[in-house]
Amino acid sequence: MTMGVESGPPKVPLLRDPKLRGLLIQILLCVALAGLVYYLVRAAAANLERSHMASGFGFWNQPAGFDISQTLIDYSSSASTYGRAFWIGLLNTLLVACIGIVLATIVGFLIGIGRLSSNWLVARLATGYVHLVRNVPLLLQLLFWYSMVLTALPDFRNSVHLPGGGFLNNKGLFLPAPELGGAGPMVSAAVLVGIAGAIALALAARRKWLDGRVAAGIGVLLVLGLPLAALLVGGGTLTIDYPQMSRFNIRGGMELLPELVALVAALVVYTGAFIAETVRAGIMAVPRGQSEAALALGLSRALTLRRVIIPQSMRVIIPPLTSQYLNLTKNSSLAVAIGYPDLVQIFTGTVLNQTGQAVEIVAITMAVYLAISLFTALLMNLYNARMALRER
């Protein structure tokens, strides 16, 4: 009988076991890599020490002392720290990225669809746009837009007076701003809650838990009513801060800087051309039979595009679209050329200059861009997973 004989794979010496060996090599590689990184960091620190250069992150809480042209949160050159300046730069970068991504997507889709239009003129114009914009370096376009904005707008003395108390000149667009008195934070919170509530309602309506019209009504009520209620409860008074002309400038109100406009315009026009090509590729990837079938069913051309073609083409569009969003965000660092105070301009520029701590500051900035990009990619991947073809 063969009961005593061992079945199963033949015995192999431990070191020749491919699984174990693979694991061992990978562990060794990781250890070596970690060692190398550790060594480089140590060497850099030692070199800084030897050349008597300051290191560490102590500068973060030191007063900044310089002025910034656009601050979304409170900042004063006397009281604020380098850390605060960092957050201002980051918010300004995020502002450009968010506006840019939304507008570039709209431009991209319009042009991309336009390129496939059966209207000769529209198609040629869209094609010309893509070729022109895609083949000129972004920095040049940025400088072009900036000088365009500055030359096209009237100078301060010939400011355009807008109805309702605003001004437009080459220092920017100045509009009346609502002042909320003491109830400011409460009202902002109420706005956020209202928007969140409206989004929840929209989702509920989509799942047919609620009638669409009822949901829309309640949503509008939430968005408008909640802040108003907060204002009344908080005891604030709504006053309008009108911009006023002073000797050289316009004081008060809200202001939109020409640098921001030029930067957004350049990024949107440039990235829009790339998105247009992505969109065109996506639409062309949908088999012709789909649109023919939709038309045969009596759907209009617009409806066919919206309900049949675009949803299917999104599966092709989203992955390259993600790269374009990342490009736009990273390209926003060119802001430094035209004086828009983004993260690179404030932090890797002025703060680095004043503190001289290049290693720390560049490392922080790189980490921030990495984080923004990874976060954008994560969101887009989630969206992609939702849009992906589900095999049933």
Partner: protein
Amino acid sequence: MKRLLTILACASLAMTLATAASASTLDDVKKRGMLNCGANGQLPGFGIPDSQGNWTGLDVDLCRAVAAAVFNDPTKVKFVALTAKDRFTTLQSGDVDVLARNTTWTSSRDSQLGLNATAVNYYDGQGFMVRKDLKVNSALELNDATICVQQGTTTELNLADYFRANKMRLKTVTFLQLEEATSAYESGRCNAFTTDASQLYSVRLKLAKPDDHVVLPEIISKEPLAPFVRHGDDQWFDVVKWVHFAMVNAEELNVTKANVDEQVKSDNPEIKRLLGTEGNYGEQLGLTKDWVRRIVKNVGNYGEVFDRNVGQGSPLKITRGLNALWTKGGLQYAPPIR
């Protein structure tokens, strides 16, 4: 694993050697046969190359004087155009031997950056330029103004300090490059442009209509401009420092490019020590006896260099002011050679 360790050990050894190699900058420069000088590249009067690539300027001539002292040849300099932002890193990393790029001497640059300021070769201060038709006569009238400024200098800090101290409101637009900052000013985006006064004059020259713009009288900061070297190499520090002092001493003793060969025969003991006919002060610095003769013969004394680059002999026509010799009411005062 053993092999890996060996590789690591070799790599670390190589890196240690690489960082320790720059023990003596003077020896390195002599061995290389060339001085690496970090200069401005965009600033007429201080450092700018012409269309043939010939560099001129006050800072440029300081580097040429160092080369003349070391090699007896003012052309043995490789100029590297540096932005305000990358200048310190380039010096720290050893890519240039001297940083002569209208750089303000401050305490933090001396201590925190691991650098040494040698000697002040131009006493400057930050000022403002405005359009004449604004009818502004003083910087104190600039309340609420928008001001264009180039990044990477002490300028932003001085600007904010000045407005704060005088309780004025300020809006700044900060640019990386001088070109963009001045063109934004010219297009009317800003009411005023601020930088060191020396630079204001050269910027004004480059505007479309220089006469429409005026430099305001206020100087809001002390900007002693000095060439910088790396901290920790005292010999090289001495060489660069004394090259400037030699040029100032030469002016004081009326030793010029034209008469230096005559002056060698002078009986004046101070001139004898300066020109190396008495004592061996040049050799003590690691140079030659005739180091000052080489400098003055090839480049000129401080006054000649000043006039040629920024003074009456140049388009800038900046008056000597603070930069006159101490004997003429200025601040240029060099310790004696003895």
